[in-house]
């Protein structure tokens, strides 16, 4: 040992050490590659979920934007329209009396047998006199007779004339024609009778029934008796009112609290409490806010059930923490040099905040607002607890009227018994909701870049 040159011993040791390291390298690099692969797989899985989700919604929902529509010459047979002429102002009649008389007349008009007019027109169109009225009516949407009524009320001179009109096919006929229902099922399991199916097929082949864009999804309210004509108008207005309430209340209050906490609050117990409290509030499940709404707004303050104002208040409380937290981080990002410059020029703290710091954070506040509003727009659970899942067949005229909301409408539609039809309709509603959220975000990105460029 002593005779051995120290350098060569060391070299031998070094060699041994190196070969030891080398022997492990292949395994270690293998592990490295596998680890990377897991990462890529995870990302792939996450991206795949996005793709699957969207393709499912789009593939199910897009067909619902067109709907089987029958173009048909309607003959307003004067014989069937057994009704007096529409009342006009008589001498000595007060306007109120005329209105009452007119309302009576309209009621009578509604009672007329519009179904048989449709029936007659369809028979005329097809030359089919055999088909039973029930089968015939089962392929036309139940609410379409009111279209005839409305046309007649608007223009009583139609009596005896023939006008071409567009009538929605019933939900069952739509299903049948789109192939949403298995065509090979036995009669007993079909929603439509064999005659009705044959009629629908014939009209479709002859081009009298076409797939037309379903505008009524946007213009009609929800309907149970006439599912084919059910639309989102009421739910949309309900959501709009709620968003207005959220914007009017949550944004000013949220921004003000953020300013206070970030710029003015002294470091003390109370501030800490508010701070912890806001962070916790941000993570409270949304359904708890629904319970709060039910107990406080509905049960204690006796605000109306199903009203957008209550929904808006609940969503405001839910969105506040989001807006506060996001605004605070926007405020925190303002460089201290700007504050010091303002204070150095003799500005008071308030002046510094409102004249110098706040304007810089507008893009941040805007983003915070959009995030909050988008979150509120998609929220469902708390709204169920304040009665917004009630069936409402009217467009709310004010935030105090009964109304539904877009996500709640999705909830209601997915539960409809006519699965085949409403699966597509629900997906269509989801597309509308997502499109709204995406455009909200797009507007935010656009405004943000505009605001930032101006600086």
């Amino acid at each position: 040992m002593a005779n051995q040159s120290p350098v060569s011993t060391e070299q031998a040791e070094n060699q041994a050490r190196l070969s030891r390291i080398r022997s492990g390298l292949a395994r270690r690099h293998g592990r490295e590659r596998r680890f990377r692969l897991y990462g890529l797989l995870a990302i792939g899985a996450a991206l795949a979920f996005v793709v699957i989700l969207f393709s499912m919604i789009l593939s199910k929902g897009l067909p619902a934007f067109t709907q089987a529509t029958l173009t048909i010459p309607i003959t307003f047979d004067a014989e069937l329209l057994d009704i007096d002429p529409r009342p006009t102002l008589q001498d000595g009649q007060s306007p109120a009396d005329l209105r009452a008389a007119d309302l009576r007349w309209q009621r009578d008009a509604t009672m007329l047998n519009w179904n048989s007019i449709i029936e007659q027109s369809v028979r005329e169109l097809t030359g089919d006199t055999q088909i039973a009225p029930r089968d015939l009516q089962s392929i036309i949407d139940n609410g379409e007779r009111f279209k005839l009524r409305d046309a007649f009320v608007a223009n009583p001179a139609l009596a005896g004339q023939t006008v071409e009109m567009q009538l929605l096919a019933s939900a069952n006929a739509d299903n049948w024609l789109k192939g949403n229902i298995n065509r090979d099922l036995p009669d007993a399991q079909q929603q439509l009778s064999a005659d009705a199916r044959a009629l629908a097929d014939r009209l479709y082949e002859d081009g009298q029934i076409r797939m037309a864009f379903a505008w009524h999804i946007f213009t009609n309210v929800d309907s149970r008796s006439a599912p084919a004509s059910a639309g989102l108008a009421g739910a949309f207005m309900g959501s709009l009112y709620m968003m207005l309430v959220v914007i009017v209340l949550a944004v000013p209050i949220g921004v003000a609290s953020a300013i206070y906490l970030e710029e003015f609050a002294p470091k003390n117990r109370l501030t800490d409490l508010i701070e912890v409290n806001i962070n916790n509030l941000a993570a409270v499940p949304s359904i708890v806010f629904g319970l709060l709404g039910a107990a406080v707004f509905i049960n204690y303050f006796r605000l109306p059930l199903s009203a957008p104002i209550v929904g808006g208040l609940v969503l405001t409380l839910m969105t506040l923490p989001t807006i506060i937290i996001a605004t605070r981080s926007a405020l925190r990002a303002v460089p201290p040099s700007l504050r010091q410059a303002a204070l150095g020029l003799g500005a008071s703290r308030t002046q510094m905040v409102f004249h110098h710091v706040l304007p810089v954070t507008y893009p941040g506040i805007l983003t915070a607002t959009i995030i909050g509003v988008a979150q509120a727009l998609g929220e469902t659970a708390p709204l169920l607890l304040i009665g917004m899942n009630a069936f409402v067949a009217a467009v709310p005229g004010s935030p105090f009227d009964q109304s539904s909301a877009l996500p709640v409408q999705i909830y209601l539609w997915q539960g409809n018994e006519n699965r085949n039809f409403f699966e597509a309709r629900t997906s269509a509603a989801i597309i509308v909701l997502l499109a709204l959220m995406i455009s909200l975000n797009a507007v935010a990105i656009f405004l943000r870049s505009r605001l930032e460029r101006r600086r």
Partner: protein, 457 residues
Amino acid sequence: MYSLLTIALLLALLSIAYQQGWAVSRKLATPEATRLHSRPPYHGSLVAIWTIAPALVILALWALFGATASRAYIVMNLPAEIVDQGGNVLQSAIQRVRAIASGAGVAGEVQPYEMAAGAAFRQFQNLASATVLGSAAAFAAVSLLFARKRIAVRLQARNEVERIVRYLLLGCSAVAILTTLGIVLSLVFEAARFFSFVSPIDFFFGTVWNPRFSTTGAGSGEYGLLPLLWGTVMVAAIAMFVSLPIGLMTAIYTSQYASPRMRSLVKPVVEVLAGIPTIVYGFFALVTVGPFLAAFGQTIGVNIRATSALTAGIVMGIMIIPFISSLSDDILRQVPRAMIDGSIGLGATRSETIKRVILPAALPGIVGAFLLAVSRAIGETMIVVLAAGNSPFLRANPGEPISTVTVTIVNQLTGDQDFASPQSLVAFALGLTLFVMTLFLNMAALYIVRRFREQYE
């Protein structure tokens, strides 16, 4: 009409007061010598605030108590026999009187007493709104004069305005506290009412959930929390089982391996998952994932129901992926570069560095993120409402339908809101349980994450 008048009055008051304050203070400042302490706009604002405040108080009082007062007035004018009947009769009578007074008219024949009450109520309304507006204006005028008088060269108008602004801001921050207080109080009070029907022991330790919707007898039905809690835990566990590996590995890859370009592409797409409303996930679970799992179970010979804990859990896991990935990404990026370099410099591979240095260093933060995600999972509602099957039994098989706390809250409180029966009130006891559970999780998570942040700041 009334509200238009009110707004007009307020606007007029504001502008007059502001103008007055501005002009008076302006006159004080002579160009030669005197300098105002505060600039005229502050004097204007101060006078405006002084002027508008009493008017607002009066209007607010009327808004709060006006409805009660007018109802009392109508009742006073109705015949005694109707008042004595109370209930719906009285209510509809009041509504009719209101309708008559508003000029909208009513259906059916108008009774003479209704007509009289309507006319009286109309007078009352006119008088009341005139009084309110008048007194608001009068008080405003008085305080305008007072505020005007205060204007002086030395008046610290700016400081006063700023102090008021500060109090307003403080008031806004208090809303958050009030919200929490509202949540706690309403949950506690309503839950206490529930516990007057059902003993807390039966509730917290009961193993049977069967509230029997009939309102025949109070207290009928069994309210055992355990089946619901079990369902909640099972769904949350499945969700974490899906989301933790995917979310964490995504965060690791995007923060440690991905090029900036890939990062900027992947992150927003994954975060799209976070923006999708939960009702959409619920629908996705119901229509796509559930049937797929059921079919999959059939091919491998396992009985999986379309709506089950598994379906809800998996979809909830997908929903939580972006939550975990963005929180973890944040945390992983806070591990100091020097520490990573130290490991790389010793010849460790990337993955060795990640597994042996970065993850242990980031562990507290990741635990925090995990806890927050769990809290979100147990509070999630719509996915389980749609996809978990709503079957409140203690079952160990995740392929079977279950029910959760949130689902049951929705079930018990939708429909008619009768706040007197244990069937509805139990929702608040469940809500309280949920609130306390999530509160603990959140507090723990926030505490851990904050400690972690401080460590590396």
